[in-house]
């Protein structure tokens, strides 16, 4: 695990149709120490997905610095695992081969990477689904595979882009419980993008509220772990923090 730091990050692009420069990210600085879980929330269009895409290296940044463990980011790489809102599983690969894809790209032999994949599938209670294809699974199951596929590649930083936005409410709470448990077991460095305030507070050590391409506020979440919804639903501290963050987002 490594730290992630964003220093005066900016993104402007030229809209050729309108003929003008558009500023998506004005000036964002953020420190995520190794092993910390940070959620980024904000209204639609505040630039939260743009930040994640730049950290992942999918799109270039136009100003400032992105450092992973002190080294600048140049394009996509296996040191930053990504979990996508649309799951982005390979439909032509079984669940086992999806999870073993990262190790395969590193040249890990078949038997060894299958063992790695099975270990991580067990972590998410997916052992029974190893030989199935993604389209044979429910949305919730597919995203479990998405999370496990990113983790199995042992990234320094895990980037999650609204990963639970497209599953139903019950499944979402189960997935949040499971992600919380897995994070407590493995302690990866996580940046979690969401527009769901309770989700952001439930999962994170710290919630960053973004507005119009800038950091509006950072809220620490000192709620004790392990966190499970059965307990937090009625927890006063959780409610207070959620309301505090929600007020910030609504003011944004």
């Amino acid at each position: 695990m490594k730290s992630l730091s964003l220093k005066n990050l900016a993104k402007t692009y030229f809209d050729a149709y309108k003929g003008e420069h558009v500023t998506a990210i004005r000036d964002v600085s953020l420190e995520v120490p190794a092993g910390e879980f940070v959620s980024i929330v904000g209204p639609s269009g505040c630039g939260k997905s743009t930040i994640l895409n730049m950290v992942a290296g999918f799109i270039p940044h136009s100003g400032g610095e992105i450092l992973v463990g002190g080294a600048p980011v140049k394009g996509p790489g296996p040191d930053r695992g990504v979990v996508f809102q649309s799951f982005a599983l390979f439909p032509w690969k079984t669940v086992l081969d999806n999870v073993g894809f990262g190790p395969k790209m590193r040249g890990v032999p078949k038997a060894e990477r299958d063992a790695i994949a099975r270990e991580y599938l067990a972590l998410a209670g997916l052992s029974h689904a190893a030989d199935r294809y993604p389209n044979e699974l429910s949305g919730g199951m597919q995203q479990r595979v998405g999370v496990v596929r990113a983790l199995a590649n042992q990234p320094d930083v895990l980037l999650m882009d609204e990963p639970f936005a497209s599953v139903d409410a019950q499944t979402r709470m189960t997935l949040q419980d499971e992600l919380s448990r897995i994070w407590e077991e493995r302690r990866p460095t996580v940046v979690f993008i969401t527009h769901d305030v309770p989700e952001a507070v439930f999962l994170a050590n710290r919630v960053v509220v973004l507005s119009k391409g800038k950091v509006l506020a950072e809220v620490d979440v000192p709620i004790s772990r392990p966190r499970v919804w059965d307990r937090l639903v009625a927890d006063e501290q959780f409610k207070d923090l959620s309301n505090q963050v929600l007020a910030l987002v609504r003011s944004a």
Binding site: A88, F90, G102, Y133
Partner: protein, 268 residues
């Protein structure tokens, strides 16, 4: 009515056990009608042969070895067309699909040459290569090639950007992404292109064999016209239909079933 239920049950069980019956059953009324019209006799048999005439012709041509030889020639040409079409069309399609520059430069040209359908090339090919194998090979390769290229390009461009990104962030190099993501993602479209290409190619080949051929099913049919043997022409038509059915149902459909459909990329 209830008395018919056991019969219906028998039909269902038999057709599950012998799927070939499901294929053949629809042809029973077609052949029966053909036979009835031939027996009724408004046309002289030399103009309108009956099923037994065609079967007899089939047996005699098989015994003489003419039909197996001509059939072999046509199928071999189709196979060459398919092989060159895949070997050339898929890599070209991948390149044009992946490179923006190549796409901009070549797409209009491809559409232009695709529009000059197969046998529209025959006049100039006959001048260049004369009557024979080169001309026929050109026609079938040309006909297979364009649908394969065009569909491969569409397939490559239909692969969602998230899948490229997922592979990149799992450590895949550009070359591995082609093999692991682009080719399998484009495969359903490649199969469609191949199916269309072979379908058009088969028709073009028969036409080319009629005009410039010295062997093959098309040549057999056109040669029979000179001899005035309607029976042989009808036999050739039936052979064409059966052969395409075999290629489609026994080779192309199972590949599609095992790939795109299994992965949920193609709806049932």
């Amino acid at each position: 009515m209830n008395a018919l239920l056991p019969l219906w049950s028998f039909v269902v069980r038999t057709s599950v056990k012998w799927p070939i019956l499901q294929t053949l059953a629809p042809f029973v009324p077609v052949v029966a009608l053909w036979w009835a019209v031939a027996a009724w006799g408004p046309f002289p048999p030399a103009f309108f042969p009956s099923p037994p005439d065609v079967v007899a012709k089939f047996i005699s041509l098989m015994e003489k070895g003419i039909l197996p030889e001509y059939l072999g020639d046509s199928v071999a040409r189709l196979a060459i067309g398919a092989a060159v079409g895949i070997g050339l069309g898929v890599p070209l399609g991948l390149w044009i699909g992946l490179s923006k520059g190549a796409h901009r430069a070549l797409w209009p040209v491809l559409l232009f040459f695709q529009a000059i359908g197969d046998i529209a090339w025959l006049p100039i090919l006959i001048i260049w290569f004369g009557f024979g194998l080169t001309t026929m090979t050109f026609v079938i390769v040309y006909t297979v090639l364009f649908p394969v290229i065009l569909n491969t390009v569409l397939g490559v461009r239909s692969v969602r950007i998230e899948l490229h990104r997922a592979a990149q962030s799992l450590g895949a190099s550009p070359a591995r992404i082609v093999g692991e993501v682009v080719v399998p993602g484009a495969l359903p479209n490649i199969m469609t292109g191949l199916r269309n290409g072979l379908g058009y190619g088969w028709r073009a080949l028969i036409a080319a064999e009629m005009i410039v051929g010295t062997s093959g099913i098309g040549f057999l049919m056109f040669d029979a016209r000179r001899a005035g043997s309607v029976t042989e022409i009808v036999l050739g038509m039936i052979v064409l239909g059966i052969l395409w059915y075999i290629v489609d149902a026994w080779i192309l459909a199972p590949i599609e079933q095992a790939t795109g459909r299994r992965w949920g990329l193609v709806t049932q």
